[in-house]
Amino acid sequence: MKADELAISIASIVPVAFILIIFGFLVFKAYPSMVYNGIKFFTSYVWNPGDISAEPIVVRGFKVSPGASFGILLFLTGTLITSAVALLLSLPASIFASIALALYLNERIRAVVSSALGLFAGIPSVIYGLWGVVFLEPTLYSRVEPEMRALLGFIPFFSGPIYSGSGILASSLVLALMVFPISTSIIYQSAVSLRDAAVNDALALGATKWEAGKLLRSMMRKQILGGGLLSLGRALGETMAVLMTCGGAINSMPTNFYSPINTMAAALTALLDSAFIDPTGMVLSSLAELGVTLLLISVASSMIGRAVLGRVALRGELE
């Protein structure tokens, strides 16, 4: 092996090493929490660092403050609900928008829309959060949520108390807006390339554009699934926009769509400074376990999405 090849091979291993180090270090840090919390980590929703001013006690070989209990059920629920609702709202819109763009609109509008999609995908998440705080939450609180309760109150989760506007609904809507450009740019690209391949034939045979669109949709199953999973991966791991709009619930499970919630990424961010004052290190360890869990869920979703898309994702994600 020549010198340049050796040097370049070694440097290229760095990303591989980083993955191993990130995962290895987090698992190493999470080990005391795995031993102390056990399966209760996933089945309990109580997150309590215990009496940190009291003398630490030793449980199964690890120091911990008396009364400490760490369960992430609330955060896990929040992550899954907000991401699922976001995807339910944004994916059909993405499919519809992509097909309409590919079939009904002309070249010039398409060019404008697709560069606008790129810009919107680039808006920092803290800015989506700001908009959630100053516009979405007050609007939901004063107008939308009372109406929803009056109209849809007979459905479970749509009735009951309305809180401050921040909560499941607000976070899900912000997430839906944030992932819309991602799934749309992937699905739209395949819609454009497949249109020339097959849909033009359908049109030539006398199909209406809508009928051709239905054909197009059935041809894009793979891209829709892949684009959906990639945007799900993004939604699951999204931090700032959710942190700012979720209401920061702790130790209380949501009762309806208007309830405050917390997600894994948001809780990790909000709770990390509580680890600074914990003398036992168990808070930090539990947060590391939370981080590992979030990492695994979110990476799994994105990687399955990439596998489904194949090499298509390479371009789509960068746009």
């Binding site: 928008a97 309409a100 920092p124 959060g129 100053v134 809508w210 700012m244 930090l284 979110s298 960068l318």
Partner: protein, 282 residues
């Protein structure tokens, strides 16, 4: 297929067109509304002092945060660019047994949630390596997120270089390294640069990774390590929840500066991309 009347089919088609255009318009107006909200908020609170003085998120200005953001972009770009570029060179030219593994790890790295990278940066850079909340800790944490973007976009840039150039170089007796350094990089640089600029625009808007790695400073950091750094996204996050109207104003103005920064970087990236593609055509 069942026979249906032409009128019905055409009516259905027209309805679909209307709904489709409706969906696109509603979503784009929502997204435009975000930019509009930030801009109008920023304009109503704006004063020049905000851009020209240092401050602490509730009083003064955001000049320190603007400079801090650019310092962080500088560190993260300077560290992720060589790494991403070399990885892309390996993937497109050297292609060994490790290609699959490297590509996989780049995809995995790109899907790690930003706060998990933030936690890692805090545990390893800040605590374990003793950097403290600092430029280096924050910049290196951002760099973890940028490497996959730089690697992917550079690989695409290399794919765009006509293969005749490679054949010509090797026919003239060039070694692999001579081809890479004198032909490939020269031909691909606008597209490589375009990808680097795009990934630095993403870094500019990051918050979660920096909260526990960069910290905050009412002035500027005095050293690479153990000296905290101010940055724009922090002002947005902390200022918008403050009771004082002035703090809210600083948050709006920071958000606007961020939008302008990110959009300008994205436009610069597009310009470089055009240049790269135009080169290929000529």
């Amino acid at each position: 297929m069942k026979e249906r009347s032409m009128t019905l089919r055409l009516a259905e088609d027209r309805l679909a067109r209307a709904v489709g255009i409706g969906v696109i318009s509603v979503l784009f107006s929502a997204l435009l509304l975000i930019v509009y909200y930030v801009t109008s908020g920023a304009l109503s609170h704006f004063s020049w002092d905000m851009l020209t003085t240092f401050g602490n998120t509730t009083s003064g200005g955001i000049l320190n945060a603007i400079i801090g953001t650019w310092l962080l972009i500088g560190i993260s770009t300077a560290t992720s660019f060589p790494l991403g570029l070399v990885t892309a060179i390996y993937l497109s030219e050297y292609r060994g047994r490790l290609s699959g593994l490297i590509r996989l790890s780049i995809d995995v790295l790109a899907s790690v949630p930003s706060m998990v990278l933030g936690l890692f940066g805090y545990l390893v850079y800040v605590i374990y390596l003793g950097m403290g909340f600092s430029l280096l800790a924050g910049g290196l944490t951002l760099s973890l997120m940028m490497v996959p973007y730089v690697a992917r976009s550079s690989e695409i840039a290399f794919l765009n270089v006509p293969k005749e150039l490679r054949e010509a170089a090797y026919a003239l007796g060039a070694t692999k390294w001579q081809y890479v350094s004198r032909v490939l990089l020269r031909a691909a640089w606008p597209l490589v640069a375009s990808g680097v600029v795009l990934s630095s625009s993403i870094a500019a808007g990051e918050t979660a990774q920096l909260l526990y790695t960069a910290g905050w400073n009412t002035g500027l950091p005095s050293a690479l390590t153990r000296s905290q750094v101010p940055y724009l996204t922090y002002v947005v996050w902390s200022g918008i929840n403050q009771p004082s109207a002035y703090a809210n104003g600083l948050a709006y103005v920071s958000a606007e500066v961020l939008i302008v920064t990110v959009f300008s970087l994205m436009v610069l990236s597009k310009v470089l991309e055009r240049r790269g593609i135009a080169w290929k055509r000529s």
